[in-house]
């Protein structure tokens, strides 16, 4: 311990500019956080990767193939838009509509149509619904922010192992994180 390492600060007679160990380290910590912060999207990228890696080989990460209404320079009266995600055998379209109260409504279509448990996870928590036999599903009231959409077979609890013998189609689908 140094002679300055006292919680009460520098001893009498020491210039006030001398900081104790703890304070100095805290200042260094703050300085590095401000001068060299982690990239904005790093935690999100990690989560996207973990979502796929952690859930087994039966899991398929969908790709964002279209984000109509979000193109550079296109600005309508609202920020309503449609996100389209595609996998090897399915397409999911999400129509995001502003509700006027700062939240959004999300309507989804799964093609080809199938009954699936649909989970929308975001900072606000997890919302759960089931798609209709026509592949339609909706979340009427969703907080804005970053979200991920999972589609699981209806008879599987979230997190339970998936996979059926002889069925080559990935049973669990997950979108990359997107912004509502």
């Amino acid at each position: 311990m140094s002679r300055y390492d006292s919680p009460a600060g520098p001893p009498d007679g020491t210039p006030s500019a001398v900081l104790d160990d703890r304070t100095l380290l805290e200042r260094l910590r703050r300085m590095w956080l401000r001068r060299d912060p982690a990239p904005e999207g790093l935690a999100r990228a990690v989560l996207a990767r973990l979502a796929v890696e952690g859930l087994g080989e039966e899991h398929e990460l969908l790709a964002l193939v279209d984000a109509a209404g979000r193109l550079a320079g296109v600005r309508g009266a609202s920020d309503d838009r449609t996100l389209t995600f595609a996998g090897s055998a399915v397409t999911i379209a999400l129509r995001v509509v502003a509700r006027g109260d700062g939240r959004v409504r999300v309507d989804g279509w799964l093609s080809p149509p199938a009954v699936r448990t649909v989970r929308l996870t975001s900072a606000g928590g997890e919302l759960l619904t089931t798609s209709s036999p026509l592949g339609r599903f909706e979340f009427g009231d969703v907080a804005r922010g970053t979200a991920t959409c999972h589609l699981d077979p209806p008879d599987l609890a979230p997190g339970a192992p998936a996979g059926r013998a002889g069925d080559p189609t990935p049973l669990r689908l997950v979108t990359p994180p997107f912004t509502l």
């Binding site: 160990d21 401000r34 982690a38 989560l47 928590g125």
Partner: protein, 208 residues
């Protein structure tokens, strides 16, 4: 939650010398999130990742890796956790485990990638431009002076201080292994480095 929640920022308008608020909270939050994740609670991994990723970034960047290399190491650290999490018997150890894993990989990458890429002022100044506008000019000026002083320290000091500044419960044995220093010399070196920094600061008029 944003990454900036991880570490308390200086209170606006208050004295720039802010005594560290409960630093333990990062580790406790990580431990709680880890337990929740093991219990299958939704969103728990999000909490763990958002809490620890900025801390891992700092640890890794202390090794002089480029931003891209640092991102790779941080990503890899989380993948290792996914494979080996059941080896972590004490939830309180999860933050330390992540940091040790990240530091080891960072050191390995820094050694294999020749020449190492220093943390260039260009990168840092760019990061500085992104600082939020509400941050007080005083804080920024203080940071600039502190940074100028840190850069005058030997590289080993810079690295060691960056590790101990972000590691709430540093394992000297782990740091010794990473920095290739005898474990008994970490404590004294830490003190010498802090003292050198104080001397440089004082010579420049100190921090208010």
């Amino acid at each position: 939650m944003s990454g900036s929640d991880v570490v308390p920022q200086a209170a606006k308008g208050s004295s720039p010398v802010t005594v560290a608020p409960a630093r333990e909270s990062t580790w406790d939050r990580a431990a709680a999130a880890f337990v929740a994740w093991r219990d299958g609670e939704p969103g728990a991994m999000d909490e763990l990742v958002t809490t620890m990723t900025p801390v891992l970034w700092q640890a890794v960047r202390g090794y002089g890796l480029s931003r891209q290399q640092a991102e790779d190491v941080v990503q890899g650290t989380w993948l290792v956790l996914l494979r080996r999490w059941d080896a972590i018997t004490q939830p309180q150890a999860v933050a330390g485990w992540l940091l040790t894993t990240a530091r080891r990989d960072a050191w390995r990458m820094a050694r294999s990638a020749a020449p190492t890429v220093p943390v260039t002022p260009e990168v840092l100044e760019r990061a500085d431009d992104a600082a939020s506008p509400e941050e007080s000019t005083v804080t920024r000026d203080q940071d600039e002076r502190l940074w100028a002083c840190v850069r005058r320290l030997p590289e080993r000091c810079q690295r060691l201080l960056r590790i101990v500044a972000f590691d709430d419960r540093p394992s000297y044995a782990g740091i010794a292994q990473d920095l290739h220093m005898p474990v008994g010399s970490i404590g004294p070196t830490r003190q010498r480095c802090l003292q050198k920094l104080r001397d440089v600061l004082l010579a420049g008029g100190g921090l208010s």
